[in-house]
Amino acid sequence: MFRSVKQNFEGMLYIFPSFLLFAIFVFYPMVRTGYLSVHMTDFQGNPTNFIGLEHFRYLLEDVNFQQSVKATLLFVLYTVPPTIIIALSLALLANEKVKGIQLFRTLFSSTLGMSVAASSVIWMFMYNPAIGVINRIIAALGGEERQWLLNPDTALIAAAVATVWMNIGFAFLILLGGLQNIDSSLYENAKIAGVSYMYQLRRITIPLLSPTLFFVTTVSLIHAFQTFGQIDILTKGGPMNATTVIVYSIYREAFINYNFGFASAQAVVLFFIVLLVTIVQFAVVERKVHYQ
């Protein structure tokens, strides 16, 4: 009995440092956010009076918030599937044994090493209507120049394209790692059996890569729901709120309008949306995953 108490204490001692970090940077903010979301706050973010679920009731009717939920869902749709499909295609290419393939592997994963801010600035210049390379190429091909980031119809897509570019590095690297983990003799056996490339892809690669694909999809989804940096730099939520995703809306509510309680309520809603999506991922999609 004495020994087990001592062992417990020892175990807790080992966990303590990481628990402390989590407590300060994750648990406390979470609890605080929940607390603030049911209060009115002053300009410094101090709760003034308890209002219950008033913020949430208001959120349901708020057209702006509905618009930001819609923008977020569209943004997720525009970024996650393209990222996965492009990264998977690149990983399949880079997994071939060709001379100098290492160079391509480095290139394809290089966006992983760039910060969101730096890449956003690069894309901002590329989208620039006057000096941007994108309009120049379109003009050279005889197309119609556009104000990509200032047009409500194209702004969200433009931001999504930049985001896909930024996220490819990470997804590519993880998927390539997954591909390289597949036993080469499985492909050799397929070679001897003489099945086509598409059959191999469908029958061997995708099923055996499914744990990795599942991981990348889940992480990308969560990531996409939490997008902020590139929106702040490229469009500041505009034009006409077309790119105001939930996190940007939270930021604006809290640090521009100083409405911390209302911002916290939005954060709580976002938390439950992400939680729900992740639960659905695990409940529905994971069933199709083949763990070895």
Partner: protein
């Protein structure tokens, strides 16, 4: 019939990991490639399968050059060392994998799968996933997959190396039986000389990318072409010792002398002699003999392995039938018939001597 003509493999264009392999494998033959790890046997097999490009030479199957023919058109099947089973497919799907490409009807596929499963005792497991099977059962699934393709040639790359000793012995027999039953040409790679000896019609011993000897197992055992083959085939290994030649005598480490009935050519100075453990026997009354001191005794039940000191530096092993009562430290008289002594030159090649019913006489000597 498979013909390999001066087959070579090089990755960097300079050093050859497989060099100048020439062999003809007959239809229906069980042909074993045997050698230590890294000797190039698996590479050679993979070249025959088409999984590795052939650097030089020519591979012919039934007279047709196959160097640049894709694996699927070589009309062969292959069993991999790790079985290469698809973990997400059932046993049945694994067995019939790829059959659709050969334009075989669904019923025929099902029929072949059932036949193969029955032959290998897998009928109850067709709906299982590979991870639910034991090592031996997975091995059988891999075999079944090779069978259902009904190809005339089957390649196997160390298929038994992941099994325990008892199962291995059983599978040796089963694979051999299967091969004979179906009349397929088998090329089988192993590093285990017991597998090579027990299963093969002919074996090819390889070392360092080069063919050391090709022949029937017993032929290779009795007449090894060089030191490598002599020491690689047989367990316990052949006793080998370097000796100085002095006219008709061999001198071991200046301790023992051995008189021969034959003269060596004058220029021979150093040779290596080899004697199989079973050819060292207890001397009878009238035999010339030499006494040796026993260092270790291993009684295996049916036979006894006796390690004795030939010289201060070298130990030899003798294998005697039954359960001998020799004890460590005993001095025993032993003898060797000269017809069983093999000689190798300094380069390790076999020296052939006129062999009659001569004897060898050892005696202690002091210089």
């Amino acid at each position: 019939m498979i013909e390999l003509v001066q087959i070579g493999k090089s990755y960097d264009g300079k050093t050859f990991v497989v060099d100048d392999v020439n062999v003809r494998i007959e239809k229906g033959e069980f042909f074993v490639l045997v050698g230590p790890s890294g000797c190039g046997k698996s590479t050679l097999l993979r070249m025959i399968a088409g999984l590795e490009p052939i650097t030089s030479g020519s591979l012919r199957i039934n007279g047709k050059e196959m160097n640049d023919v894709p694996p699927s058109e070589r009309n062969l099947s292959m069993v991999f060392q790790n079985y290469a089973l698809y973990p997400h497919l059932t046993v049945e799907e694994n067995i019939t994998f790829g059959l659709h490409t050969k334009k075989i009807s669904k019923q025929e596929r099902k029929k072949r799968c059932m036949e193969a499963a029955e032959m290998l005792g897998l009928t109850d497991y067709l709906k299982h996933k590979p991870r639910q099977l034991s090592g031996g059962q997975r091995q059988r699934v891999a075999l079944a997959r090779a069978i259902v393709a009904q190809t005339p040639i089957c390649l196997m790359d160390e298929p038994l190396s992941n099994l325990d000793a008892k199962l291995r012995a059983k599978m040796r027999f089963e694979i051999r039986q299967l091969q004979q039953q179906l009349g397929i040409t088998m090329i089988y790679v192993t590093h285990d000389q017991i597998e090579a000896m027990t299963m093969a019609d002919r074996i090819m011993v390889m070392n360092g990318g080069r063919v050391q000897q090709i022949g029937e197992p017993l032929d290779v055992y009795n007449h090894p072409a060089n030191i490598f083959v002599a020491s690689f085939i047989g367990s316990p290994a052949m006793n080998m010792t370097k000796a100085d030649v002095l006219e008709q005598s061999l001198i071991f480490n200046r301790e023992r002398i051995m008189r021969l009935a034959h003269r060596f050519p004058l220029e021979t100075k150093n040779i290596t002699i080899g004697v199989r453990p079973e050819h060292i026997r207890l001397a009878n009354k009238n035999d010339p003999y030499f006494t040796v001191k026993v260092v270790n005794v291993e009684r295996l039940g049916t036979e006894t392995l006796i390690t004795f000191a030939l010289t201060k530096k070298e130990h030899w092993i003798a294998r005697w039938n039954g359960q001998c009562s020799v004890r460590v430290g005993d001095e025993v008289p032993v003898t060797i018939d000269e017809q069983h002594v093999l000689f190798f030159n300094e380069a390790g090649e076999r020296l052939y001597m006129g062999v009659g019913d001569d004897y060898v006489s050892f005696r202690e000597t002091k210089f």
